[in-house]
């Protein structure tokens, strides 16, 4: 399908071996449409985060493939995979997204540095990104001077540093109050309207209800039931 940005084929991930073997993913197939807003939901420990790490090439599967923009990512070497992450994917995690010793601006600049943006262009771009998430006045604040919601917005700004087409979010609002969650969600929805593909792991029913597509991960397998309401 030409409009799918990510294609997953029979993805299997096993940890350990023998009797102690854990099957985190048991043959997952799915496609993510370009420009979509997809939520991955499911009970804890059933493979949501594992799937998400595989989608971003942070972890290697036992078997199966993930294709991003026509490129099978696990056939890439470590270096090319790192480049793909820098160019195509922005990550936001639940906790500790930011480098604690750096200011908001410096955190974003570091991502720009890793993508090869020259130093003199970094400052301007970092400022623009902070404007997108509405935090330009916090440019020189260290993470511990920011609220949880503000930290996550800086993390989103950083994930956007290289203008990646895909944003992977691992419960970015998991430890935020509802007000902060609303802040973050409105930023993400705006980005989605601008064409970013957003994949969002969550426990929250309200967020899942706002998603265009819903993927339920249970027992390491995917269950496509778009109308599903989660009983967690």
């Amino acid at each position: 399908m030409s409009d799918s940005v990510i294609t997953v084929n029979n993805l299997v991930k096993e940890y350990g071996s023998g009797a102690a073997m854990v099957k985190a993913l048991r043959g997952v197939d799915l496609e993510i449409a370009r420009g979509s807003f997809t939520c991955i939901v499911g009970p804890s420990g059933h493979g949501k985060s594992t799937l998400m790490h595989m989608l971003g090439g942070l972890d290697h599967p036992t078997s199966g493939s993930v294709t991003i923009d026509g490129q099978e990512i696990f056939q890439l070497g470590n270096k090319d995979l790192a480049r793909l992450r820098a160019q195509k994917i922005g990550f936001v995690f639940q906790f500790f997204n930011l480098l604690q010793s750096l200011t908001a601006t410096e955190n974003i600049e570091t991502a720009l540095m890793l993508a090869g943006v020259p130093e003199e262009q970094q400052k301007k771009r970092a400022k623009e990104l902070l404007q997108i998430v509405g935090l330009e006045e916090k440019a020189n604040a260290k993470p511990r001077q920011l609220s949880g919601g503000q930290q996550q917005r800086v993390a989103i700004a950083r994930a956007l540093a290289n203008d990646p087409p895909i944003l992977l979010m691992d419960e970015p609002t998991g430890n935020l109050d509802s007000e902060a969650e609303a802040e973050v969600m409105s930023v993400l929805e705006a980005l989605n309207r601008q064409g970013k593909t957003i994949i969002f792991v969550t426990h929250s029913n309200e967020i899942a209800a706002r998603a265009e597509h819903l993927i339920l991960v249970r027992d390491g397998q995917v269950d496509f039931t778009p109308s599903l309401k989660i009983a967690s």
Binding site: R85, L99, T110
Partner: protein, 385 residues
């Protein structure tokens, strides 16, 4: 943001740990530089004195050891067991000049000084001395003293002044021009007067010999040995045996410094390992942002290298200062320790080498932590709670 700025921010985030680790490498490198500088100063001083002696052969009491050879070069007191008859029979050999010396000690204003009994006329020719002020000994058995330039300046002595040696008032006849060696720090008397004052009638400490034909040094050494039952060493032998003692001392000191550097290197390993654990999650985030394993490796290696670089610069400065203060007390003998003119030779190339060495050691120390950091899997790093 650049990798070096990122490294710098990481370095200073734990200020105490940064400073203590840095102190470790600074002390190690500082002691290394001090010992290197001291060794270099000792060596160049010995070479200078050996040149100032101006002799190809030195006749010493039989069985004299390296310690006495050091004393000849530094102007320490020596046993006086060579007799006038022996000096006469050495002097009788054709084709060479023999100059006897009586090396003694005295004190001026309660400070020790070297006193040297010499044959005035022969010695001034042999040593090529020039007079700076006053006159010289009018005859070979004249009474009076001629002073080295630095000694005269140090004690404010001018021709006409009097100094007291072994209870006798002795008039200063003149002051020599600076020679750059220990002669600048010596009181010269005529040999007969020195022998009388120190009750060493007819005796001398050593005899310096210059041969007319350099290629026949060995031959003359044998001739002297045939005539008298005394020790004969060439200036080269003397220099090399003295230098080998100095060399042994230097190597020992440098080994001690090497142990200090090794300990400091493990300090860096420890600091960097701690940093790796502390920043486990950050390493994962960097990788998620697109940092390669090589990139993470480089960041950590650079960080430990900076410890070596700053520590090396600090250590070189510390060591240089320590060497300047310590040299007068270590590289010169008791008689000259308070006198100006103590020269410390710090080679800028040696300092540069020390800084590079320190950086290299630090980077080697940082290898293991950097490999550890780069091997972290992003998922493991992120999932770490």
């Amino acid at each position: 943001m650049t990798p070096s700025k990122l490294v710098f921010k990481n370095l200073v985030r734990r200020r105490g740990r940064f400073i203590f680790t840095l102190l470790g490498i600074m002390i190690g490198m500082g002691s290394f530089v001090t010992f290197m500088a001291l060794g270099g100063s000792l060596k160049s001083q010995i070479e200078r004195e050996s040149a100032a002696l101006g002799a190809n052969l030195v006749v010493t009491p039989k069985g004299s050891c390296a310690y006495e050879q050091v004393s000849i070069l530094t102007g320490e007191q020596l046993p006086t067991t060579i007799t006038g008859d022996e000096v006469a029979s050495i002097s009788s050999i054709e084709g060479m000049t023999a100059i006897p010396y009586l090396a003694e000690r005295s004190a001026i204003d309660n400070r020790p000084v070297s006193v040297m009994g010499v044959l005035p006329e022969e010695t001034i020719k042999f040593k090529n001395w020039k007079l700076d002020q006053g006159g010289y000994f009018p005859a070979d058995d004249s009474e009076g003293a001629v002073l080295g330039s630095i000694l005269a300046e140090q004690f404010g002595l001018l021709p006409g002044a009097e100094i007291r040696i072994r209870g006798s008032q002795i008039k200063v006849l003149g002051v020599l021009e600076e020679t750059g060696g220990k002669d600048d720090l010596t009181v010269f008397l005529s040999l007969p007067q020195a022998q009388r004052l120190y009750d060493q009638e007819g005796l001398v400490s050593y005899v310096a010999v210059r041969v007319d034909r350099l290629d026949e040094v060995e031959l003359y050494a044998n001739k002297i040995k045939e005539k008298v039952s005394l020790g004969v060493v060439s200036d080269k032998q003397m220099r090399s045996s003295v230098l080998s003692i100095v060399g042994t001392v230097n190597i020992t000191l440098q080994l001690i410094a090497a142990v200090a550097i090794l300990a400091a290197a493990f300090g860096i390993v420890n600091t960097m390992m701690t940093a790796t654990y502390e920043r486990k999650r950050e390493i994962g985030i960097l990788q998620a942002m697109g940092a390669t394993r090589t990139g993470v490796f480089r960041l950590f290696l650079l960080e430990s290298g900076v410890y070596g670089l700053i520590g090396g610069i600090g250590g070189a400065a510390l060591g240089g200062v320590a060497a300047v203060f310590a040299t007068p007390y270590i590289s010169q003998n008791a008689a000259t320790s308070f006198v100006k003119g103590a020269q410390v030779s710090i080679d800028p190339l040696m300092l540069l080498g020390a800084i590079l060495f320190s950086t290299l050691v630090a980077m080697i120390a940082g290898l293991y932590p950097a490999i550890k950091a780069s091997k972290l899997s992003p998922v493991e790093a992120i999932s770490y709670e």
